[in-house]
Every structure is written in structure tokens, then in C-alpha cells.
Subunit: 394 residues, 4 copies
């Protein structure tokens, strides 16, 4: 173990969800030498990670609503073949430690056990920020990175205050529903002096007022919506069609998702927000006029697993019609969790290096990265490496 | 039409095969404004092609064994849905012109109508070179690029002369089977002062003695084995697994090929040579210890179409087993023909620029490129663009 | 050619659509010995078709809205690879003959060139029936079978008259929108003394009042919604899961349809009606509690082709989760047209044999057959053969 | 538990293999009410199993070569996700009981710990038969069914004695390699008065001399080569193409198998024997002239799982080319084990009913059933039900 002062906190919004649970088990197992860092980008032998905090300096905590404990969630993931049974026992101590650092979260304007229905959003934010601050102080952490891995929220109806930080701060003491929960968490994190990572498509810190707050407070942001399947493949494959001058006519996709996120994402609102950003990325790579629809369907029987099928109709030489299909079958939380660790390491280092505002070079990880960076996966990986190489703590 | 002196000859070995026929029809259709340059890499709007000979300066001829005329081959390709019916009539004039520039080729030591069984390989090479030279002089071409698009040959048993140019040249006047046909064509092309492109996995100019000859005569070489399906996808997808640190355990592939090439490639000899180079490329990208087999099966009912199915078994975070599959369904000659035009343009420009020996930056086009260049498609495309940008005729 | 008196008319609603055009070309080509009866069930060597009218006794006509002529539709299908180019010329005479027997149809209450907006549905029905009657008399046909192959209509809002023949007949002279077009066509066909085949999921003759009319007039009905892809495969595969006692947990499907029908079916209304009947069939075979969604997406780039991808999640022994996927890539009109000929032959023979009302033993052909017959394809085929064997004209 | 006299022994050749281990765990779990009979055909609610021995009357034992104990094999299967972790503890007692009934088997003419290299096959057979007889007597079993679930053997070179029972019996005392192990086990089983089930494609009881022995001793035989994936699907799907008169042009298949059987079956010998019987079945259903190859490839990374991909190229109406693909992803032992239980119950009942020789109505279970029965799965299921209904113990 490294010295207290050099440890880094990872504060997970949705701390008992499948992704968070898997990240905590995985970090524990890797530190104990019980698992390879498969799926961790920053752990590649060739990755320039000398300026990133080592894995064994990460300490976990977070917010969540009342529910089964981390260890019970881990047991359920074993039954779902998302975690190997033999890791449960050796990782139990670290799971218990993380469990003790979970504080009750914010369920939205309807209220919950901790924050009753009438509580102002300013008051909620204050309490959430205090939880994070307490975590940092008590454990003597050099810094804390906040990662939103809770269920996806529907797109948020636009409000003038979302674009105007002053107006937002004036309004918060007297409102209960101005910000969606993900954005209120982002606000609290920034107020607590912490970088914030939008791991899901929820609004989070993507509201202009919150981006402004991050810049004012000199805090880095990362996001949004980690790519772990269909979009990952699309950003690897679409550049091939473009480079070969093959004309993509239609790109259609079906995503079968189980578990909690399947139900959330297949609902018309979230599905719309997710499929829109997927479509934009594709168009950027192969042209604006492609046909096709991306579907997200919930299949609870799949558990935490997902299956994506994509069909690409393209024209070859002289207009001859051809096609390509792929099927991706993966465990959602096992695909996401190592990226949580990667992003925590990278964003912590960016904070240490004094970077502020959205970190465009992290586009490699996201479906909907800020600032319309290159959409090609290879370009994104090149940019990521360059970014990591250039990081030096001040 | 451009001036005589600036025209470039494209001499096709296998001039009435499906790939050659499609290339001639396609060049004609595009010059007449009847078809988009879909599939032509060098015709992308963003591609730096200012130093390449324009499409309408290319003139076609070649060697082939006696058989149906180009126009009949084109009609058969229409029935097989590999060429659009409406292009036949407008392109007929150009097909006839190319037909008149086809000379009878070399069938190997067994002999054929033109070269009887006992003819020495030196004599055959002289006659083949004279055909090419006559084509260049008669039509007043600036240069002629020779492209081997005939059926794949089995791997060639090693002979000492293959590695020693002096020994090879001493031996040729008295042998009938020292070089496989593709290599004898390469020898003849180089003797005629022409760049040579190994479009297939046949030995061609890959024998060290012939590479030495190209350097001595200051001629560029390109090759070998154009990638138009499974391998193209592999070089786009495998880097994704590597960049994400996902551990590929097994990569298995089945290729269903119709037509002539299916039968040739599914034969144990050629299949072995083709699958070996495919496997090497994969290992370079995702590791030496991957399991899996690549199969090539002949299915005549598919005509000139092919279907490739690949299955990738990989480990994710904490060793959780996941998988990916793809199916690629394309028309083989429609995938290959535009690359013939790309390679002819690029190699002609390289010749004009005075480059000699194997052109490593053309790896983007090949399954088995020389000099172990990057295997990632994105890196190969970057190198190709840099190469094209740097070309200037002396 | 057979004698006038033994010829059978096939009156197609949607007579210039892709399915109708393909059926006319196909019947012509087969009669001329230019094509095998591939896809025609009743033409199998082992099928008991001795009581069915031979293919060369069928005569085609129909209703359609103004549009390009049959021969132009056939040319477009050749460009879309749905018809072989070489059949156009030999079949032109028969296409022209059918074209001359096409009468302008009914576009619905909005009116069209022939039936203006205020025309009562009784008047329209009378005119449509007169067209059919004229066709029969002029050509001296033994009988005429009417087949609805026009675009799918949305589900129809229930009306009391749909269930009560007397009320319907009282109302028709004074209404313009009581029956959807498909049902008005069915009414006209029955009034003209013709059997009626619901080849699409449109309401057609499935309204109870029309079924009653068919019984009263002693006319057979067949339908509805021919199965030509995903559902066909489902009825072949689902019994396998059942017989092996494998528990299907979820069956998800995505249908990519091009052309006109893709746009129609992907619209929420028709999609709902189509996917509902597909789901019912699956539940009948593998249980009521299966998860999964069936999607229909329009991809115009596919032309008259369609691709269906199905994913089946099932439990094996001791609850081990397994999966199966299939992809079906077919030409919609080429799959449907031979069934039009089969159904015309079978329904004509049923009429000759004096059968009346819905013909349940034709379930083999339909996604949504009447009377909840066996859903297993093998059982349906057995029933179809038994039905054909038992047919004897009175 | 039922009375001693009514218990039935199931003697497994390869008693510690994955299939046998899964069968023992599964029978135990179902008897304890811990698992549904998913995958057990004879346990379907609608299946006529009143004449079959109940599951809780089965007692397990068998032959195997020295190796890890059943409980260790079960633990390995849990790690490979082929058995649910929670069943291990409750089934441990039954696993231990079965372990105690495992006797050392016969490894072939090379010899092994029990039977040294020079031991005559008559002597080996006598010892094996004595093991089975001892099992029956000691446990007071009504009868014992022997099931061969050991690794597949290569095809056996023909010997005159294989066709002539008298000659075989004369030769056995003086030979060490006349019969392959599977056939020597079959001989021993029959000599011990037990029915024999060829669950694999090994020669087993399929040699004419052994079939004659079964008839002479009035013992039933079942086999061979249980269908659990690709062939199962083929026998469900091929009848669809036939019934619809769609012309299958090519049927190609790739089977990726992990574990022990993958290595065995991918070896040229066994692969040849397995693919031959698969091809015969397909031809019986869709015609003798189909193209395509069936491949078996070993991918150890798949563990006990397998993936089959099939591609069907077929012609539709007017020769339009279409295609279908499927992918089957299953756990081999979980697919096979319930069929072992089904076959044990059915064959035991057939024995009780006095049936002798090959049981053709069990074709539903096999890739290569005796007597060229119907190949269509639906017909086979109908025959199986009729057979089960007709069974009555004398």
C-alpha cells in the first residue's frame, strides 16, 4: 500500500450497481494478483501510464439508494456468470470496506428516505458534497474522482438555467426539480472540488452551466456514455468502409439488453437519447444519408449480458450491393467496469496536472464525446496515448 | 482523352478473368460518367491523388490462355449479378479494344497452344516481355504496369536459384519448370522494364532473385494477395481488441468461395499458403497464442460471390468469456477490381517517381505485405496517404 | 392450352405490385418451360395436385391504382435482381395480356380518379364486382379466384357492422368509409361469386360479416398474411425446442424490409398488427411467458429484399443458458409469388369441390391462419397434403 | 425411493466424462426437486412416459480409465459454466455413490493399468461383463442399460469377423485388436445381458456381428451418435426447404468444439466419420446434389461449449439466389446429458417389453440412426411418441 497522501478516491454514483460492484471486485482481485488486467486500457504493457495513479492507490465509496449490500450484489453477479465464483472470498474484505463508504443518495424530486419531497436542490447538493468531502478528509485522499454509473435517465426538458450558471445557482435554493439527479450529483461533485465522469448518457455535467462551473473551479470533466459494444465496433468498422470508399447505404442495429439497464434504455425516452448519439457518430464516419434504425430491446432473461446485431448494407464497385453483419455477445458490467478504472486513473491524473473542463482526448471511451473529436477508434486511441504521455502533475 | 505520351498501360496477367473483366468495364463506365468510383480508394475526395495518373489515361491489355472473349465474360458476370446489365452496351467498345490487346499466355511446363512442352523458360520469358514491349511501343504509352490477377498457384517448392539472381539467369535457358508461371510473368515484366503487382498469393515477384532483379532494374514491386474480405475486416477489428486490452483466445474463420478461385483456393496447397499468411497477420495484432483455424471451402453455387464467417472468442474483465461473430457477403471481383485500378495508379506513379523494389507503404491493400509493416488497417491507411502525398515524378 | 371452359381466372388486388408482377412473369416462364417451379409447393413431385387446375389454365387480371405498366414493373424488378433479365422478352406477351385485364381500383374514402370522394361503398363494390364478372364472362372462365396482394393496411377500428352482415349491407349504400379497402374488395369478390384470399395482414375477409357472406354464398376463403421468412422459420424451429423440452426464454426478431412494403409495415399501425400475430404463433408453440420483441424496420436501400435476424435465448439442462440466431436473406416478391399460384390453384379447386368459408387446412401458408390450427410447420404440411388429396370437384 | 427390485442400472462407458458427470448431477438434482427436467424429452408433460422407469429408479455406475473423481469433474464443469455452482453440495452424496460404482476400463490393445498389452479381447470382455453383472447383482437391479459416452474413436478398418458373429467369437480368445474398444464394450454388455446404446459415432454395436449377437440374446440396441446441435437444427430446418420446394444448392457448416471431444472430432479420422453421416442425413432431406462441406474445428478455449454456424444457399422462385445462416451456441454436455437419461429410460422399457435388435423409432435422438428412418425431426418425434405409447412390459 502507498502512503495515505497519495491515495485517490473513486466515488461511484450508483455504488451498488453491477458496474460499480464489478469495478470494486476487479480492482481488489488485480491488486491481490488474482486476476489479469484484461479489459483495462491503461494497463496495457505498451500504454504510457507512468503519470497515472497506480491501481492499488484507488479507494472506493459512493452514493446509492438503499438496497442489497455490495457483497450480495457480487453473489448475484456470480450466479449470472458475470464474476468468477472463486474471487468472492478473497475480495470480501475490500467489498466490505467499500460498502462502509456508501452514503444514501438522491432519488429525485419525489423524495426518498434521506431527502424528503420538499427538500431544495441546493440543500441536497450541499449534503451530497459534504459526503464526498468527508470521504476525502477522513481517508486522507489526495483527490476524489466522481463517476456516474447509475441507471440512465430520460433526456431532460430544456430549462434556461441549464445554460446559465449564475441563474442556476440563484434558483437552486428554491427548487426541487430544476436539475435531473445526474446533474445534481455533478453539481455536488464540482462543489466538492472533484472531477466528474459521465459514464452514462444521462445529462450529468453536459449541461452548459455545469461545464462552466467545472472551468471556474478548474476541474476536469469526462464523458459521456461509455462505449462497450455496438458503438465500439462501429467506430472500429465504419472507418474501414470509408477508407475503402465503399458506400454504406444502411446501418441497422438491434441491441438486446437484460438486467436493469435493459429496461431503462429500452424505454422510449432513454432509447431516443442513446440512439441519437449513436447515429450521429455513424454519420460522422460514413455520411449523412445512411438509412437504418438502431433499436434497444429489453430481454430480462439475458441478465447482465447483452447481444448486439448490426447489419450494414453497402454498395461496392459499380453499385453492386453487398452486406456485412456482426453479433457481439458480452457481459455488460464486465465490459464497463475496467473502463471505470481507466477513466478514474486518467481523470485523477488530469486533475493533478491542473487540466480543467471537458477532456476531449478521452473520446476513445465514449459514445458521445464532447467537442466532436475524431470518431475513428484508431484516431481516438492515438489521441488518448498522446494525452496520457503529456500528463505531468504540476 | 489525354495525349498519347502520358497514357499508362495496365497489363493484366489473367486478362479475361472475372477481376480483370470487371476492372476494364469499371474503368470504362467511370470514364463515361456512368458509375461512381465506389470502392476506388485513390478516388476518395480526400485522397491525395494529384501525383497519380488519372483514370482516363489507363489503357488495358494482357496475357491469358485461350477462352471466351472479354465481352462474353462480362455477360456471364451480369448473369451472376456482379456487373449491372445496363453497363454492357456502353462499355462494349472499350472491352473490344482491350480484347484486341490480349496475347496468349503461358500455361506452365506442360505446354499449351503457344508455348510447347519443351520450350525453355528463357524463351517463354522473352516472348512474354516482347508482347508487353510491343503494347507499350505501338500505343505510345509512358509506361506499363503489370498486374497478376490469374488463378492462385500452389506454394512453390524451394529451389536454390529462387534466391540467387545470377544462378537463375544462368539456368533459365535450359529449364522448363524452374519458375512457377506467376514468377516467370514477373521475370518477363521486369525484363520489359515494367513494375509488377502480385495481386494474388502466387509466388510471383516474392522470390528473392526477382526482388533483386527489380532493384537492379530500378522497378517498383507491389504485393501480395489483395485483401477484400475476411482479412480486411480482421485488420480493422483486431486492433480494437488490442487497444481495449481484451484478450483474444481464438479466432476462427470459414470462407465460402464460389467460382474458379474457390476451387483453386480450397485445394490443400493454395489454402495452406493463403491461411498461413492470414494467421500471421492476426498473430501480429492480437498475440501469438491464439487458437482457431481459417478454412476456405469451395461452393460453386455462389458464383463470383463469397461469404466469410468469423468467430472471435475473447476474455473480458476478470476472465469472463465473450464472443463476436461477423458475416461478410460480397462479390469477389467487385471487391477486387477497384483495387487493381488503385494499385495501377499508385505503382505507375511510384515508377515515374523513380522508386524501386517492394513498396511497403501499399500494405493497406494486401494480406501478406512485404517487410512486416503495421498490420492495423488505420496505420496502413495513414502510411498509404503519406506515400501518395510524397510522390513526385522526377 | 386447355379449353376455354376449364380456364381459371386469378384476379389480383394490387395487380401491378411486385408480388403480382412476379407471379405473372413466373407463371408465363414456367408454362413456356423456361423456369423450374422452384418455390411452388403444389408443384412438388410428391404433392397430390391431381385435383388442382394446371398452371397453364390460369389467366391473370386485377385491380390497381394508376401507375407504371406491368412490363415496366418487371423491368424494375430485373434491376433489383428479383427477376432474371432473360425472362423479360419471352414473357412480354403474357405481361401485356395481363395488363389489358387490369382495371382501375379503389383508393379509399379520399377518392381517386375513378371513384370520387363521395361515392358510396355500395356503389364502389358494385363497380368492382362488375369488373370481375366481366373478366369471367368475356374470357369464358370456369371461375375466378381473387387474391389481395396490395400494400398492408393499418388495423381497422371496430365497427358494429363488421360483425353483422345484415347491418353491413343496410349501411353500405350510404357510407364512404365503413369498410377498409381490402374488405370492400373482399365484399365485391364475394358478391361476384368468387373465392377470396387474404395474402396480406389487411382486414380483408377476416371481418365476421364477410365470413358470414362467404358461407351464405358458398364461397371458400383463405388467409391471412402469407409467411415467407421469419415466421416460416419460426414455425419450423420452435417445434424443435418444444420437442426437445428446451425452455425458450426470449425470442427476439428484427426484420429489415426495403421497398414499398417496408415503409408500410414499419409504420406503427401495420407493424403492431403484424407483430401481434407473429407473437401469438410463437407463444402457441413454446409457451406464453417468452420475452422478446419483434421489430420491422424499413431500409429502402434493400429494394425488394429483406433480411430477418432472430435471436432465441433458451435454457438447457439444469438451467444452463444457451442461444441460437438465424439470418434469413430473401427476395420478398420471389418468396411470395409462387405461394400466390399455389393458393390460387388450391382455392379454385376448393371452390370447384363446393367448400365454403375459411379453409383451415391452408394454415401452412399463413402467419395468422383462421381457427387456431396447429402452428407447427410439419403438422401444417401434413394437413395441407390431406386437404389436397381429398379435393374432388363435385 | 422405489423398491430394490424395480431399480434400473445405467452403466456409463466413460463414466467420469463431462456428459456422464452432468447426467449424474442432473438426475440427482431433479430427484431432489432442485432442477426442472429441461432438456429431457421423456419428461415433457405431454410425453407418454407411463411405461418408462421413473427417474428416481435409475442407479449409476460405469467404466472409465483412471483420472480425477466425479466430484472433481463436476467442480471443473462449474468453472466452465456447464453446471450451476449451487447444485454441487446437494448432489455430492449421489456423485460419491456413483463414483464407488466406477470400475477401471479398457484402453485398447496398447494396454493400461488393468489390462496389460497382451491380454486377449475375450479375456477383457469377460472381465468387463463381470463388472456389469456384479453391479446388477450387488444392487439387486431389475436390469442394466449400458451407454457409451466415451470419446469418439476413428472409423475402424473393416475385418471379416465384424460381419460374422461365429468367426468373431472364434477369434476373440487369441486377438488383442480385432474390435475397437467401443465394440468390445458392446460385446461385453450384450454378453452380460444388457441393452447397449451407441451415444457417439464410435463403431460400438453397429458392427453386423454385434447386431446379430443382440438379436440372438434378445437385447435392444440404440444409436448412434446423439444429435445435440447442428444436425438437430438441420433435421428441423431442411424439411422446411423441401416442403416449400425451395432448392437448396449448398449447405455448409462449421463446428467449433472445445474440450476433449473437440480435439478428438477435429482429427481427420473421426471428423470424416462424423461429417459423412451428417451429409447423408441432409441429402436424404434436400437432395443428393447439394454442395458444401461440414467442418469440425477444435477450439480448446471454448471449454465444454460449442458453436455451430451453418450457411444455406438456396434458389427461390425463378432461380433467384437467397441464403440463410444460423449460429447455435450451446454447452455440449448440458445438451447431451438429458438425452442419456431419456435413452436409458426408453431402452430399459424396451428391454422390459422384450424388444430386440436396433430400435429404429429412437431416430429422433441420433445423427446416424439405423434403418434409414425418416430424417425429418417432426416425423421422428411422431414415431418416438408412438413407440413410447406402445411399450408394455411383458
Amino acid at each position: 500500500m502507498t502512503q495515505t497522501g497519495s491515495r485517490v478516491g473513486v466515488w461511484l454514483i450508483g455504488a451498488r450497481g453491477a458496474v460499480a460492484t464489478t469495478a470494486v471486485v476487479g480492482a481488489s482481485a488485480m491488486c491481490a494478483g488474482l486476476a489479469e488486467p484484461t479489459g483495462c486500457v491503461t494497463a496495457r504493457a505498451e500504454f504510457p501510464d507512468e503519470h497515472l495513479p497506480p491501481l492499488n492507490t484507488l479507494v472506493f465509496g459512493g452514493h446509492d439508494l438503499p438496497g442489497p449490500a455490495l457483497i450480495e450484489r457480487a453473489q448475484a453477479l456470480v450466479r449470472d456468470r458475470a464474476l468468477p465464483a472463486q474471487l468472492l472470498e478473497p475480495c470480501e474484505k475490500d467489498l466490505t470496506a467499500a460498502e462502509q463508504e456508501i452514503r444514501e443518495g438522491y432519488a429525485g424530486p419525489m423524495g426518498g428516505p434521506r431527502f424528503t419531497a420538499g427538500t431544495s436542490q441546493a440543500e441536497v447538493a450541499g449534503a451530497l458534497a459534504a459526503d464526498i468531502d468527508d470521504f476525502r478528509r477522513r481517508l486522507g485522499l489526495a483527490r476524489v474522482v466522481v463517476v456516474h454509473v447509475a441507471s440512465t435517465e430520460p433526456p431532460v426538458p430544456p430549462r434556461a438555467e441549464h445554460n446559465d450558471l449564475e441563474a442556476l445557482e440563484r434558483a437552486l435554493p428554491s427548487v426541487t426539480d430544476l436539475l435531473p439527479p445526474s446533474s445534481l450529483y455533478a453539481y455536488a461533485a464540482l462543489m466538492a472540488g472533484c472531477p466528474y465522469i459521465d459514464f452514462t448518457p444521462s445529462p450529468g455535467a453536459r449541461l452548459p452551466a455545469l461545464t462552466a462551473l467545472a472551468r471556474r473551479r478548474e476541474l476536469p470533466l469526462a464523458g459521456s456514455d461509455a462505449k462497450t459494444g455496438e458503438t465500439l465496433l462501429q467506430t472500429a468498422l465504419a472507418p474501414m468502409f470509408a477508407a475503402r470508399n465503399l458506400r454504406v447505404r444502411a446501418w441497422s442495429g438491434t441491441n438486446l439488453l437484460g438486467g436493469g439497464d435493459g429496461a431503462t434504455l429500452a424505454a422510449p425516452g432513454p432509447a431516443a437519447s442513446k440512439t441519437l448519439s449513436k447515429r450521429r457518430t455513424l454519420q460522422q464516419m460514413v455520411g449523412d444519408d445512411i438509412e437504418g434504425t438502431v433499436r434497444i430491446d429489453c430481454v430480462p432473461a439475458l441478465g447482465t449480458w447483452k447481444t448486439a446485431w448490426d447489419h450494414v448494407a453497402f454498395d461496392g464497385f459499380l453499385g453492386v450491393r453487398m452486406s456485412m453483419q456482426f453479433t457481439w455477445q458480452g457481459c455488460d458490467c464486465a465490459l464497463a467496469a475496467p473502463l471505470v478504472l481507466d477513466l478514474a486513473r486518467l481523470t485523477a491524473a488530469a486533475h493533478a496536472a491542473g487540466l480543467a473542463g471537458p477532456l476531449a482526448p478521452l473520446a476513445f471511451f465514449f459514445k458521445d464525446p464532447v467537442d466532436r473529436p475524431p470518431a475513428d477508434l484508431a484516431d481516438q486511441y492515438r489521441d488518448l496515448r498522446a494525452f496520457a504521455t503529456a500528463l505531468h502533475a504540476r
